[in-house]
Every structure is written in C-alpha cells, then in structure tokens.
C-alpha cells in the first residue's frame, strides 16, 4: 500500500498557521472596544496583517531554543561558582561594576517584562501580540538570571543586597527608573519606540556587547554568560522595534510626525542613560578592551546612521540630538566618574582615581579631551586624597525634571561650562540638563511635573526612614538619607582601604597556598 507522506511545513507557512491562523476577531464586543489603547496616540493602522515577525518564531520553537539557552547558561554559572570563580576576576575593583549593574539593570528588565505584557494585550494584530508576549517572557528571564548570577558575589562582597529597595530611592538610579516609568505610562506604540528602538537598538548594543565582552576578559564568566544569553534575545527585540517603526510608517503617512517626535525624544533619553554604562567601560573594568567612544562610534554612529539612512525613504530624519551626542561621546564618561568620585558617602559602590597607566590609556583613547579637561582634575583629586583632604560633596544633587540625570553635563560647544536650562509651568520653576529634555517637558508638561526626584523630594521631608518625625523642632531634611537608602557604609567611599579590597586579597592568597 502506498503511503502519502505530507511534506513538513516551511518556516513561513508554519509561522502563519501558528500565529495569525490562531487569532480571531471578537464578536460579542466590537474590536475597538476590546483594544482601545491603540487609538489613543493618533497612530493610524489600516491592516494589522501587514505586520510580520521577520524571525518567524513560533511559540513551540521559542520554548525549545530558550530552554537550550538556559541549560547552557546554568552549566556555565554552576561551573564558575564551583570553581570559586569570583577570585579569578582581574581585581576586586571589578565587583563595583556588578554593584552598579545590579542596581540599574535587573529592575529595568522587570519593568520591560511588565510593559511588554501590557502591550501584548493592547496590540490588535496576532503578529505583534505573539512577539510582545515572547519579549515579555525574555525580559523576565533576564531579570531573574542577572540577579541569580550576581547572587553568588553577594555572599562575599558588600553593597549588593538592597538593590531592589534602592532602585526607586537612590539619586543615581533614578535616570533608568524614569526612562521606564515614562515609557510604560505612554501608549503602546510609543512604548515600542522607547523600548524596542531606543533601549534595545541604542542601549543594549553597548551594554551587552562591548561591555559584556569586557566582562569576559576581566574573568567574569558569570556576567559574560548572562549578558550574552540576554543579548541573544535582544537581536529579536531590536528586530521587533524596527518592525514596529516600519509598520507605523507604511500604514499611513500621517504617522510620520508622531513617529519622528518619538524617535527624537527616545534617542535622547537613551543617550542620557548611557553615560553610566560608558563609565563602566572607561573607568570600572580593570582590564579595558574598548573605550566608550569607540563603542559609540560602531554601535550608534555607524549602526544608527545605517538605520536612519534606511528610514529616510519614509521621510524620517536623523534625530535632532545626533550631533550633540557625537560631541558628548568624548566627555560624558569622565564627567560621570568624577561626579561619582565626588560623592563617596552617597553610592553603595566604591570609587577610585585610575592608576597612572590607566590614565595613560584614557589619554590615548580620548586625545581631544582627556588631557585638556579631565586628567588634571583627577590628578588634583589624587593629590588631595593622598594629603588627607579627600574631596567630599555632601549636598543633594540637582536632577533634570525629564531624564532625572544629575545636572552635570557641559554646555554644547563649551566643555568648561555646565549646561543648565529652566522653564516655568503654572507658576512653578522646573530644571533641565539640556535643550532636548526641556523640549520633551514642554511637549507634555502635565506628565513630567509628576516626576519623582528623590534628591529634591528629600529636601521636602518626603524621603525619611520610617518613624522619622518631620515636625520635630530639630528635624533636618535629608540628614538620614543613609537609613532611607539602606546604605551599607562598608560598600561606599574609596576602594583603597575597603573591606572588599582586603577580603579579596586574603581569599586569593588562601586560594593559591595551603
């Protein structure tokens, strides 16, 4: 008897059958009532079936490959921990990279997971809904695996255990938090541009590619495997963001000005968030592999230009801030590190003045700016520190009302002048780090007047540990910030002389002798 064997379905057919063919239109309630959010932002969509995930990933394949990624990841994590891997990193200064990363990144991954589950519910087409659902699960995976990989370090080093508490309270973590708060309270399409484009395409390419490549060469297999495993999902996320932008532009010409405004806004917000990532590459990795400036050129200037040149056929223009970000790439990491060094009592990680050979590396990588503006400052601080006169800025920083970065970056075209802008709205004065942030505020003032800025709120008596009587006659606002932050004092201030430094030296010594 002849048996007719049907041919296995191809990728495109399988994708169609497993996504679009499983979706249906509602009949008890009209579709626009079930999916009201897609109309709020003014984006016009005529045919949702035009949206296709270029990866054509179906749910069954998704679970299969994600499970394989997890098996690889945990095999490496287990081996690293079994082998006392934390003692094989370049030197104990490296742990401070992990502290900064832990406070700033996993909580944002969790926000991304929440945001994508919301958008997965709000989008009408089956293609974007399935892709958003997968991304939500991915982000949850990143949140968990990042914390999991660093938890092993937490057994040995100070300052890691209160990251979740600190995320919405520490002054320097507010920029990332506000980025996601802003995105998640926008509509579904703006969220896709904010996260799918600005965060994935601009930020994660720097955070998880050259920075994680650097972690690998600093001996941190745990961060390396987690970072690369996360980034393998990010390739899919960037594609989704790009697909969303193309989809909006192809659906209706009226969408162009809205999309352009989002691209301008979120490219700038992404850039501001990058200052601290760049600082990790330039100052905090003991073994450096690439400067922030070099990474910025490859992953933003070249890769971003490729994207914007391509989108020009829809009428999209290069974001307004592009020229300013190119000027700033030679400044922001130095300004950030100096900013953190000047506040030894206010960060749960250590700072230090780079060693002479490290200063030389910076001079070589930043020939236009480092020797002229920043090396003399660092050498001055070093002298003062050695003379027992360590600089310590004890005041609360002033933060930008939009990006919540501390106001510390320079005036465009004038590195010796700090950039500062203000505007008055309903009789109240608001402050900004740049023209771009001021413009974002003026576009949606009712949104940004609500920004929570802990360093400002503290002066109003709103950031106190429980049990503080703000009406007591001797009450001083901000005097108990350490308790409010739950700061581990052993983890702050200078690396030289710290408990982490001593412990690491002692444990490494024990690991090589009997």
């Amino acid at each position: 008897m002849d048996m007719k064997v049907s041919k296995k379905l191809g990728l495109k057919e399988r994708y169609t059958m497993m996504t679009r063919d499983l979706a249906w239109d509602t009949t008890f309630q009209p579709m626009d009532k079930v999916f009201p959010q897609v109309g709020y932002e003014g984006i016009k969509i005529h045919d949702w079936d035009q949206w296709e995930d270029p990866f054509r990933l179906t749910m069954d394949a998704y679970w299969k490959y994600q499970a394989e990624k997890e098996r690889k990841l945990y095999a490496i994590l287990d081996a690293f921990n079994q082998n006392n891997g934390h003692l094989s990193v370049t030197d104990a200064r490296y742990m401070n990279v992990l502290k900064l990363f832990l406070g700033s990144t996993p909580p944002l991954e969790l926000m991304a997971a929440r945001g994508f589950s919301m958008v997965a519910r709000q989008m009408v087409g089956a293609g974007p809904r399935v892709a958003c659902m997968m991304q939500s699960v991915d982000e949850y995976r990143h949140f968990q695996t990042q914390i999991h990989s660093i938890s092993n370090y937490n057994r040995f080093y100070n300052g890691m255990d209160e990251f979740a508490h600190q995320q919405s309270r520490m002054w320097y973590l507010s920029d990332g938090k506000s980025f996601f708060d802003d995105a998640i309270t926008a509509g579904p399409f703006e969220f896709m541009v904010a996260i799918g484009f600005a965060f994935e395409y601009v930020l994660t390419n720097i955070l998880f590619v050259p920075f994680i490549s650097g972690a690998a060469y600093n001996g941190d297999m745990a961060a390396m495997t987690v970072g690369f495993s996360a980034q393998s999902d990010e390739a899919r996320h960037m594609t989704l963001g790009l697909e969303c932008i193309k989809f909006m532009l192809e659906q209706d010409p009226d969408n162009l000005p809205i999309v352009q405004r989002w691209i301008d806004k979120w490219t700038w917000r992404g850039t501001r968030k990058l200052a601290s990532v760049g600082m990790m590459m330039d100052y905090m990795l003991p073994k450096r592999i690439m400067s922030f400036k070099e990474a910025w050129e490859i992953y933003f200037e070249q890769n971003g230009s490729a994207l914007f040149n391509d989108l020009a056929r829809y009428g999209v223009k290069v974001p307004k801030c592009f020229a300013q970000t190119i000027e700033e790439k030679e400044h922001i990491t130095h300004q950030s590190w100096i900013g953190f060094y000047m506040k030894p009592d206010a960060c749960p990680f250590h700072t230090w003045i780079p060693a002479p050979d490290e200063l030389d590396w910076l001079s070589e990588k930043y020939p236009n700016t480092f020797d002229k503006y920043y090396r003399p400052v660092l050498e001055h601080f070093d002298k003062q520190e050695k003379a027992g006169n360590r600089f310590n800025n004890k005041t609360q920083p002033m933060n930008c009302q939009v990006c919540v970065s501390t106001i510390k970056f320079n005036e465009p075209g004038d590195p010796m002048e700090m950039c500062f802008r203000e505007t008055v709205y309903k009789g109240e004065k608001f402050h900004f780090c740049s023209d771009h942030c001021k413009e974002i505020f003026e576009d949606e003032p009712e949104k940004y007047v609500q920004t929570f800025i802990s360093s400002h709120a503290a002066l109003q008596g709103k950031c106190e540990p429980e049990g503080t009587d703000v009406n007591a006659h001797d009450y001083r606002p901000g005097a108990r910030m350490h308790a409010y932050w739950r700061m581990d004092k052993r983890a702050s201030g200078d690396f030289n002389g710290s408990e982490d430094q001593k412990n690491f030296a002692q444990w490494r010594d024990q690991a090589t002798k009997n």
């Binding site: 490959y65 590619v209 490729a306 040149n309």
Partner: protein, 90 residues
C-alpha cells in the same frame, strides 16, 4: 556609502562553522575578532545559507539554531528555511 549589515556571535565551535559559511557566501565580509565574540560586517547585504553551514558542520542545521549563539544584528531581517538575510536598502 553603503551601510554595513552585521551579525555578532559568541565565539564557540558552532559559530566557527557559521562564520566560515558567511565568509564563503559573502565575498565582501570582514570578520572582526573581539574578546569572547566575533562580528561579521558586510556592506549592504549579509546572507547565511543553511546548505553552506551544513557543509561546514557536517550535520543538518536549522537556521533558527542561530538564536542560541546570536549577540546582535544590524539590518532588516528576512528569514526562510534556507536563508537568513540582513540588509539595508540605502
């Protein structure tokens, strides 16, 4: 100037074969070695052909397996059973 399409992988035994296949199928490919990773740039259009990867590996290969090793990509993606293509139109 034509923009580069690119792809980056974790450095391992599988991706060594994949990168060899890319170099065979894309005459303008430039391979950039970096710590723990490898990046391949191709002006305009980068193609990964399943048949070439299978020849290099000596086994069947599903292009979706690329996801296990991917670090980042640049370009519009079009994926089928036989080809994984990244391209810029400009």
């Amino acid at each position: 100037m034509t923009s580069n399409a690119f792809i980056a992988f974790q450095k391992n035994e599988e991706t060594r074969c994949i990168v060899e296949a890319i170099v065979d199928d894309n005459p303008d490919a430039v391979v950039v070695d970096q710590p723990a990773m490898v990046k391949v740039d191709v002006p305009g259009r980068l193609v990964i052909k399943r048949a070439t990867v299978e020849e290099k590996m000596g086994r069947d290969f599903d292009l979706q397996e690329l996801q296990l090793h991917l670090i980042t990509i640049s370009g519009h993606l079009d994926e089928s059973d036989d080809e994984f293509v990244l391209s810029w139109q400009s």
